[in-house]
């Protein structure tokens, strides 16, 4: 397995700037034309617990995280205890020598089992249970240790800027750790300085002091460790525009583009960031792609040049989903974003939307369940629930994105499906995607098309003022007129209803309405192009066929490349639209596959179950993980290799993660 990349990790106490450091590292790398993928791991906690961020950079395409750490940057002791042994041979650890005497038993946030395992290592090696001992353990494994006296360097920088307050200077610890890392890698100092200036562009004085801190760290590292670290990182010239984005943000901006103008939410991890982004960007420019074709007064044109999205923080998720459905009834593209516990509360509302054929989009950021589960950790455990959420039978479309690029275009599709087929759409974006940061080529807005389905601006066929909202049509989709449309009125009810929307318990009407609603799944199955519903990667015939969904995509693709180099051919069927399920296509691929391997971030391999049910193809080999940490490319590589060599149990459970 040959990697053409570099994996850097930073850890620290939650709330102490770990995120900021990682963002800084990633942006400085990105500014040098490198591709970046960042994974954030944190506890359900505000301050005090350990969090870490792993950033993988490469000149080539990068789609996943790896378990290997090439360089670990630290500014406190817990990160050293937790991650020092993850650093590879010939890798590097940067630390503050002031930490040397800190003892393992002085860190209350380290779990008892982790502590016990480390103590066992210390006594085996005959080392003291402190930072010094920990680093000696790493050194004996071939890791290079780089002490950097941050405070001494910071004091010099402070003196130059007339800043003597240690607490103020310590705000630059993050900058120091990042700069020291780049210096070891002989990365272009000016790119790093520019990145830090950009980060603090609203505070020029702070920006200059930080740029000087970068310079001081470079000077120190060059003088002390010049050329001692084997790996170099150099900027690359690329000819494309790139963004650095996070999953939540990608979905939020796609919602604005898609025309979503009403968003509701109740605070929940890891979904709220999306709504907060929308709130912060609730005034929307409408001038871009519309050369307002109709002549209108300057006043009207000016009014139409800006739009707004109403973002409402609700009292609970029941209100969030029912408000959004209200928005849908009023003819506005509406959505709500949540995670497992909130989605559980939305079940009854979804049934109402199904019954009344109301377009609404629920963005479901799946995290570790059940109950409160692992609130800040990753899992794909809600697929079966999403497919069946709510009592009774109604069409729930379920769309799951595999990476940030898909999340962007799928967000638009979710609204299109929802309006064209007049039914709720659940868009699953898992935690690993929500909290992944990555460089991406600029999205192509020209690829985005809005399809609102049969949407009336005026009612012309009302009888006695009454409009048949649920009119019998040949394909089951009736013309939809928002509340407030002139020319007639109609009714909606959660009860079974007639064409006008009045309550009806008539058995003939019931059959008709059930057929009408449920028939939309078959209609969509016929109409939605297969390219929007699945991805198929790799050769047509392969030793192994992987079946998976969601954010495992990147790691699978990376593992496939490594395996190809070793002569193991793998192809990969990624299901994106899980209901309506692409039965015909999946059956065709899977029934001729030599060996199908289902890879999922849940206990019971839920997509495998759905696929078996739909295609009747037996799928025996599973690779699953449910410890809350996303699968790495190495884990998938190792698993597929084991499977290929016939050494794997039929249910292989992956365990890596910190």
């Amino acid at each position: 397995m040959k990697r053409d990349d570099f994996s850097w990790m930073i850890g620290g106490v939650q709330g102490s700037g770990v995120d900021t450091s990682a963002q800084f590292f990633a942006k400085a790398a990105a500014a040098g034309g490198l591709q970046v993928f960042g994974k954030r791991e944190y506890y359900s906690n505000i301050k005090g617990e350990h969090s870490y961020f792993q950033v993988r950079v490469s000149r080539g395409t990068i789609r996943s995280h790896v378990d290997t750490v090439d360089m670990l940057a630290t500014f406190e002791e817990e990160t050293i205890f937790r991650h020092a042994l993850e650093v590879r041979k010939e890798g590097a650890i940067i630390y503050d020598p002031d930490q040397d005497p800190k003892r393992l038993d002085q860190i209350p946030t380290i779990e008892a089992n982790v502590r016990a395992a480390l103590n066992a290592e210390f006594s085996r090696a005959g080392l003291s249970a402190d930072v010094k001992g920990m680093l000696e353990l790493a050194r004996r494994r071939g890791v290079h240790i780089y002490p950097v006296p941050y405070n001494d360097i910071l004091k010099e920088v402070g003196a130059k800027h007339g800043e003597s307050s240690l607490s103020t200077l310590q705000r630059m610890l993050n900058t120091m750790a990042v700069a020291a890392s780049f210096a070891l890698l002989s990365y272009d100092e000016n790119v790093v300085k520019d990145a830090v200036r950009k980060q603090f562009k609203s505070k020029p004085k702070v920006a200059e002091m930080n740029a000087d801190a970068v310079g001081a760290a470079y000077d120190y590292m060059e003088e002390k460790y010049n050329g001692s670290f084997g790996t170099k990182l150099s900027p690359s010239v690329v000819d494309e525009t790139r963004l650095f984005v996070r999953g939540n943000t990608v979905v939020a901006m796609a919602k604005e583009l898609a025309g979503c103008r009403f968003q509701t939410y109740y605070p929940i991890t890891p979904a709220s960031d999306e709504s907060e982004f929308l709130e912060a960007h609730s005034e929307i420019d409408l001038d871009g792609h519309s050369a307002q074709e109709n002549p209108q007064t300057a006043e009207v044109a000016a009014m139409k040049a800006k739009g707004s999205i109403a973002v409402v923080q609700s009292e609970d998720e029941i209100a969030a989903v029912t408000m959004a459905i209200g928005g849908g009834l009023a003819g506005v593209r509406s959505s709500t974003s949540t995670s497992g516990p909130g989605f559980s509360l939305m079940a009854e509302g979804l049934g109402y939307a199904g019954m009344n054929e109301v377009p609404v989009v629920v963005t479901l950021y799946s995290r570790g369940g059940p109950s409160t589960g692992l609130p800040t950790r990753h899992e794909q455990g809600d697929l079966r629930f999403a497919l069946h959420a709510g009592h009774g039978e109604f069409p729930r479309f379920v769309l799951a994105s595999g990476d940030l690029d898909e999340a962007f275009y799928d967000t638009v599709r979710a609204f299109n499906y929802s309006e064209v087929y007049q039914t709720p759409v659940i868009h699953i974006v898992d935690k690993a995607l929500a909290n992944s940061d990555a460089t991406m080529p600029m999205f192509d807005v020209n690829k985005v098309k809005i399809d609102r389905g049969v949407f009336l601006k005026e009612i012309t066929d009302a009888v006695n003022g009454e409009f048949k909202r649920f009119k019998h049509t040949s394909n089951g989709v009736s013309p939809r007129a928002p509340l407030g449309t002139k020319g007639g009125v109609n009714w909606y009810t959660g009860d079974e209803h007639d064409e006008l929307g009045h309550i009806s318990e008539d058995p003939v009407n019931r059959d008709f309405m059930m057929d009408k609603r449920m028939g939309k799944v078959d209609l969509a199955d016929k109409e939605i192009p297969i390219a929007e519903r699945v991805n198929f990667f790799g050769p047509e015939n392969a030793d192994i066929t992987v079946l998976s969904w969601g954010s495992t995509k990147g790691a699978i693709l990376d593992a496939m490349e490594w395996l190809k180099q070793e002569g193991v051919s793998v192809n990969f069927l990624q299901i994106r639209l899980i209901n309506p399920f692409p039965t015909e296509y999946a059956t065709k691929i899977l029934s001729k596959a030599k060996k199908v391997v289902g890879i999922e971030m849940n206990f019971s391999a839920q997509l495998v179950g759905v696929t078996r049910e739909k295609t009747c193809v037996p799928i025996e080999q599973l690779v699953v993980k449910y410890n809350g940490r996303p699968m790495s490319a190495e884990e998938i590589y190792d698993s597929l290799k084991m499977i290929h060599e016939g050494k794997a149990p039929t249910k292989l459970v992956l365990k890596h993660g910190a």
Binding site: K27, A30, R242, L243, F244, V245, E256, A258, G259, R261, E283, L286, G288, H289, S290, M303, K304, K306, G307, S308, I309, A310, V312, S314, E315, D316, I318, A319, T322, M323, I325, G326, G327, G328, L329, A330, G331, V332, G349, F443, V445, V448, I450, D451, I459, G465, E466, P482, G484, T485, G487, G488, V489, W491, Y492, T493, G494, D495, H502, I503
Partner: protein, 322 residues
């Protein structure tokens, strides 16, 4: 164009029990809408689940009969998506103050410009007469196996405490007075709450039509004394007339105190009115000025060829690293 009462009637079969207080409320709503010449296609009646929540089917405006307890959040979504609509919410006391209590309270914090009418009959009718949140402790209506062991909610006090800016009570058999209250409630700029006392002839054998008419409540001359009286006839003034906080506080306190009167002398009319609190729509416009000039429901989102109208280049620029 003047609207006739008959223009607001539908052909849907009404299956309420004979003598149900819901009829009076339905009539009053239709009379109010006719008097205001409300455009039916610009009016939406939103309800929850229960006997009273069937009401939208009998009114020829847009009608949205929603889920049990959820009329208010559905209505919130409708009104905020299209602030030009005239939205009236109706539902029972169990719907609004039992299963929907969280929404009852939290919607008060928003002050959305709509009217919420609660049909208050102290029982769950459609499920055959269980105690509702407004039935008093120790009372035993006829289908209860034993007296109620829950205390009752005071809807007026709860509404005032939650931030509703117009709070009133009506009586379903005083249809004209009720109609006037509904007109006022709709015209109020902000979130209006109207609690309507309503007999349930089938399950509530205590708060009957006769009870409210004064049965067993005799005056000195031995004549039945009605148990309701009109606030406006006693010189009570619940209207806040300036944005002076001291005055607002006084009017709130006065309404809360008044809300304790219940039983033999039960006030109906306007307890509290305050138009100096910004509406939620105004607050949204404070965050995004276009919400007022180009609200969600009137905004175009795409050109005829499906090209999005939104331009997110500024967001892209903020996120650009290369």
């Amino acid at each position: 164009m003047a609207l006739k009462l008959s223009d607001l009637k539908t052909s849907a079969h009404n299956d309420w029990c004979p003598g149900c207080g819901d009829f009076g409320i339905l009539n009053a709503v239709q009379m109010a809408l006719a008097e205001m010449s409300a455009d039916p296609s610009n009016t939406v009646v939103v309800s929850g689940v229960g006997c009273s929540s069937k009401v939208p089917h009998f009114i020829k405006t847009y009608g949205v009969h929603t889920l049990h307890g959820r009329a208010v959040p559905f209505a919130t979504g409708i009104k905020l998506a299209n602030p030009n609509l005239n939205v009236v919410v109706e539902g029972g006391d169990g719907d609004g103050m039992g299963i929907g209590a969280g929404h009852f309270v939290n919607s008060g914090r928003r002050n959305i410009d709509m009217l919420y009418i609660i049909h208050d009959n102290e029982v769950y009718g459609l499920t055959k007469g269980q105690a509702s949140p407004t039935l008093g402790l120790g009372k035993k209506t006829k289908s209860l196996t034993s007296p109620n062991i829950n205390q009752s909610i005071n809807p007026i006090m709860l509404a005032v405490a939650s931030g509703y800016t117009w709070v009133a009570r009506g009586y379903s058999y005083d249809v004209r007075h009720l109609k006037d209250l509904i007109v006022k409630g709709i015209n109020h700029k902000g979130y209006a709450f109207l609690d309507v006392l309503q007999p349930c002839p089938t399950y509530n054998d205590i708060q009957t039509k006769e009870y409210w008419a004064g049965e067993g409540n005799l005056d000195a001359a031995g004549k039945p004394k009605p148990r309701t009286y009109k606030l406006e006839e006693t010189g009570y003034d619940g209207v806040v007339r300036s944005d002076d906080e001291v005055e607002m506080e006084k009017k709130v306190q006065q309404a809360v105190l008044k809300s304790f009167e219940f039983g033999d002398r039960t006030p109906i009319g306007v307890f509290y009115q305050n138009e100096f609190i910004p509406t939620y729509e105004e607050r949204l416009a404070g965050r995004s000025p276009s919400y007022k000039t180009n609200p969600p429901a009137v905004q175009d989102i795409a050109r005829p060829d499906g090209t999005p109208l939104a331009n997110i280049d500024k967001i892209f620029e903020d996120l650009r690293v290369f």
